[in-house]
């Protein structure tokens, strides 16, 4: 995205500096205004900010809601405490831990390592279940982690001190300087920004926007989610250690539902999709909650309940902040689920203000050197859904450089066939290969990496990303997984399909025709051997369709790809294709040049009814 590699570090540092200055500066000002009593509140806010940044790295970039991050927090917090508190405070601890006491910094390091190990185990579980049933299962597994750690913390009293004693630091052993908090906060900001701008971060965001489309573009979402999880728990482990150190005691409830609610609300209110949003949310919620707490303590009246001026029952002090959090969460979910800032980042914004670049419109793409010719072969494909034979002995051969059409009436099996060769449906029989590689029943992202990339009939763009980011993300995949192919310049591709003036707009804001063009450009950015277009002109007028035909031909020629087009419009297919396969009732009933196919009586029958034969 930024050819100048120094920018890769410069922007995260700029962002971290601005956000750090704002949060710490605001906190110090408040301390001066209120006095010493505010000190712990501000320290807690800064530690919360580190925790929320850790949460943002996973939840923001992957879009998977994790209830379990406080489970990781508990693992880290207890690990930190068991290693850092004095021997007299953990008498009888198992594994000889009673006599082990290390410095808080070393204990934090151990906490990070232990939490990472837990995250690897959980991450593998998440990947297994997420592959099959998506985000809800992941949320449940993380919730299970939260409960299991809580149960263990409550009941394994020898190790954790249980619910009554917990693990405590002695008087004067608690965190006494704010320096470690400052250092950790700045580091967390830099890490969060570096990750969201990294290759893994961008691929994870693409998968967040549309999991299926990401896989069809060669991205393996599970790998990126795992990467995000590991980076995330490192930050969480540091935050949890600091929280325990600052608090002085760890009890099972320190990292349970209440803290889950608090940190999630902070993340969501500011905007989970950006680091700036996470920080803003921490500030807004800390202020709001403090106001609610004071209101609860000083007295007020609602519905005739409450006392004037006199301190209220303690339940008001406890209850009102929670009501505030619950209302904040509900309100944002209902009226602005993306939070205040959505995906706005302060460093990117400053950068754009300071360097108004007028990127020159790129030169038209030169035709790439033709790739080594390769043949795509599907043979004897059978698909059976229960008792219904959707495909029987269907097959197709396509060579790079040619345009192959697939046509057939509705229900002929075209879509099922496409789903088989793109890895979405596992065939009950038959083989599929590209060149020499047997790809029968390979997962979708591997098929894409092998050179077959598709567009979607019902448009699956990465909606929140800009036009440019849509193409560039896929170009990142191409760089790694399409070796031996010249890299297609994403800017030139965008210009080539006529979207240059729209390159900074979000994909979901594009009109229908432009969305289709973006799908084409995005697919081409993978430098595929074959472009598979699923009804590329559906919903277009005749003249738009003609333009599309031209664009498809040009883009395919530029990247040197063969084209497979599916449609039910006979005129469109005969106009664009070199060879045509006709599907009917799950079989290939005819194959040949457009002229041959049009003359075939079986085809006439399929399209016009059997009477046409007579």
């Amino acid at each position: 995205m930024f050819p100048d590699h120094r920018r890769d570090l410069y922007l995260p540092l700029l962002g971290a500096a601005v956000l750090f200055g704002a949060l710490v500066g605001g906190g110090l000002l408040y301390q001066i205004a209120v006095g010493g009593s505010a000190e712990r509140l501000v320290t807690a806010m800064l530690i919360d900010a580190i925790m929320v940044l850790g949460l943002q790295i996973y939840v923001g970039n992957t879009g998977v809601l994790s209830f379990g991050h406080m489970g990781f927090g508990a693992i880290a917090g207890y690990t930190f405490a068991i290693f850092a508190v004095g021997s007299d405070r953990k008498v009888g601890a198992p594994f000889g831990l009673e006599s082990v006491v290390v410095s808080p910094a070393v204990a934090t390091g151990i906490a990070v390592v232990v939490t990472l190990a837990a995250a690897v185990a959980i991450g593998i579980g998440l990947a297994r279940s997420g592959a099959k049933s998506g985000a809800v299962a992941a949320t449940v597994i993380t919730l299970a982690l939260l409960f299991v750690t809580h149960e263990v913390a409550r009941n394994w009293i020898a190790l954790t001190g249980g619910e009554r004693a917990g693990l405590s630091f002695g008087i004067g052993e608690k965190l006494s300087s704010r320096l470690p908090v400052y250092l950790a906060l700045f580091a967390a900001l830099v890490v969060a920004r570096l990750y969201s701008r990294s290759r893994s971060g961008q691929l994870a965001v693409a998968a967040r926007e549309d999991n299926l489309a990401a896989r069809a573009m060669g991205i393996n979402p599970l790998v990126q989610q795992m990467a995000a999880l590991l980076v995330s728990v490192v930050v969480v482990a540091v935050a949890a250690s600091l929280r325990v150190f600052e608090f002085g005691t760890i009890l099972p409830d320190l990292f349970f539902f209440d803290y889950t609610l608090l940190t999630l609300v902070m993340l969501i209110v500011g905007g989970r999709n950006s680091v700036s949003g996470a920080v803003l949310g921490v500030a807004v919620i800390t202020v709001g909650r403090e106001l609610a707490r004071r209101t609860g303590s000083d007295g007020f009246e609602i519905f005739g309940v409450g006392l004037d001026g006199a301190p209220l029952d303690w339940v008001f002090r406890e209850g009102l902040p929670t009501v505030f959090l619950g209302l904040a969460m509900l309100g944002f979910m209902i009226w602005r689920p993306v939070g205040i800032l959505d995906d706005w980042e302060v460093d990117s914004w400053l950068h754009r203000r300071l360097h108004r670049s007028a990127d020159a419109r790129p030169e038209p793409l030169p035709e790439l050197a033709a790739p080594t010719p390769v043949t795509l072969t599907a043979q004897g494909i059978d698909v059976r859904f229960g008792g219904f034979q959707a495909l029987s002995d269907a097959g197709l051969v396509a060579n790079s450089g040619e345009v192959v059409g697939i046509i057939g009436p509705n229900g002929a099996g075209k879509t099922t066939f496409v789903n088989v060769i793109t890895g979405l449906v596992e065939p009950t029989g038959g083989t599929f290969r590209i060149g020499d590689a047997d790809l029968t029943a390979a997962p979708t992202h591997e098929l894409a990496r092998a050179g077959l990339v598709r567009t979607f009939q019902n448009l699956r763009l990465f909606g929140a990303l800009t036009v440019q980011a849509n193409v560039e993300t896929v170009s990142l995949v191409a760089r790694e997984h399409r070796p031996g192919r010249d890299r297609v310049d994403p800017d030139a591709l965008i210009a080539d399909v006529g979207l240059w003036d729209h390159r900074d707009r979000r994909a979901r804001e594009l009109d229908y025709g432009n969305s289709r063009r973006l799908e084409l450009a995005r697919a081409a950015a993978l430098a595929p051997a074959f472009l598979l277009l699923d009804e590329p002109t559906s919903g277009m007028s005749d003249s738009e369709s003609l333009d599309m035909v031209e664009q498809v031909r040009r883009v395919a020629a530029t990247v040197g790809a063969g084209v497979i087009v599916i449609d039910h419009d006979l005129n469109f297919i005969t106009g664009i294709s070199d060879r045509i396969y006709v599907f009917d009732q799950g079989r290939v009933i005819a194959e040949g040049t457009p002229a041959e196919v049009q003359a075939n009586p079986l085809v006439k029958a399929a399209y016009l009814g059997s009477a046409a034969i007579d």
């Binding site: 879009g63 809601l65 579980g125 297994r128 279940s129 997420g130 099959k132 049933s133 998506g134 985000a135 809800v136 299962a137 949320t139 449940v140 597994i141 299970a144 982690l145 409960f147 299991v148 149960e151 263990v152 009941n155 299926l212 609610l261 999630l264 969501i268 519905f303 309940v305 303690w314 339940v315 008001f316 406890e318 209850g319 009102l320 929670t322 009501v323 959090l325 619950g326 209302l327 969460m329 509900l330 979910m333 209902i334 689920p337 879509t415 789903n419 979405l424 979607f456 009939q457 019902n458 699956r460 699923d534």
Partner: protein, 295 residues
């Protein structure tokens, strides 16, 4: 053998309540794709209504129907105030909306009612037992299992014989298709919330009878059990939810009796581990509901 039978009966009694809760969760998931973390709040609200009625001198025979009615009304009010505004939103938004309601309701009760436990009388027969041969059976378990069977029969009748039931099942199978076929999404969703409230109300009666008290967070535990049981059964599958509830109840009772005493306290934790493992190896739950993604 005797011990196993004994455990089976205990487990079925416990599992019946879970099944009612899980079915309510599954019905909502079917029409809205919402995993309802606020389901337990129906028990919190109706529990306090029941407590107020006891204060006014009502008996259990009057309190029980009141609990059901309050549960239904609460379910509809929550739908109206919150869920109707996030219809069709992402899983993320839906989950957090219900999570927010869960916290909001308990905090409101904490503030406006009391943080302390509110106790009320349990009916005299709750603790009674009777013997069948060597087995000791709680009257309470018998009543729970019996009422659950009747409630499920009524629910099945509603689902099978009424237009609403047909619409609801169609919507659970494929919401968009059902809408195109003329099913009115508004009335189906409201009906689903009413049905879910009804089932939670029945469960609430037993939950409160067993506990004999209510607190602002009384809904957390039943919510969790209902959600987990629905997940075990396979989200969206109504039959699966009932099976999941029974399986969860049996698992809890059997684990508690079979685990060595030192770990028996960890039963809840072990159950969570088992559920997590189930999700890792069979994430679609016990009963598979096909969720074809259109491409």
């Amino acid at each position: 053998m005797i011990e196993l039978l004994q455990n089976l009966i205990d487990g079925l009694g416990r599992g019946s309540i879970y099944a009612l809760l899980a079915l309510g969760v599954a019905v909502i998931f079917g029409v809205m794709h919402l995993l309802n973390f606020a389901h337990g709040e129906l028990i919190t609200v109706s529990g306090y209504a029941g407590y107020a009625a006891f204060q006014a001198g009502w008996s259990w025979y009057l309190v029980a129907p009141l609990v059901v009615v309050v549960s239904i009304v609460t379910s509809l009010v929550i739908e109206r105030l919150a869920f109707s505004r996030v219809r069709g939103a992402s899983d993320f938004t839906l989950l957090l909306t219900s999570f927010g309601i869960h916290f909001l309701v308990s905090a409101i009760f904490l503030m406006y009612v009391s943080a302390s436990v509110k106790s009320f009388p349990r009916p005299g027969w709750v603790a009674n037992t009777y013997s069948i041969g060597p087995l000791t059976v709680e009257v309470f378990d018998t009543v729970v299992i019996g009422v659950t069977i009747v409630t499920l029969a009524v629910t099945v009748a509603i689902l099978q014989k009424t237009m609403f039931g047909l619409a609801l099942r169609a919507a659970a199978a494929d919401f968009d298709a059902a809408r195109l076929m003329g099913v009115r999404s508004d009335s189906v969703i409201r009906g689903a919330f009413a049905l879910s409230g009804f089932l939670a109300g029945i469960a609430a009666i037993f939950w409160l009878m067993r506990a004999g008290n209510t607190t602002p967070t009384a809904g957390s535990d039943p919510m969790l059990k209902g959600v987990l049981a629905a997940l075990i059964g396979g989200l969206g599958s109504l039959r699966g939810a009932v099976l999941g509830g029974l399986a969860l109840g049996l698992a809890e009772v059997l684990l508690r009796s079979q685990l060595p005493a030192s770990v028996a306290e960890l039963t809840e934790g072990v159950v969570f581990v088992l559920i997590a493992l189930l999700f890792i190896f069979r994430p679609q739950g016990l009963i598979t509901v096909a969720h074809a993604e259109r491409v």
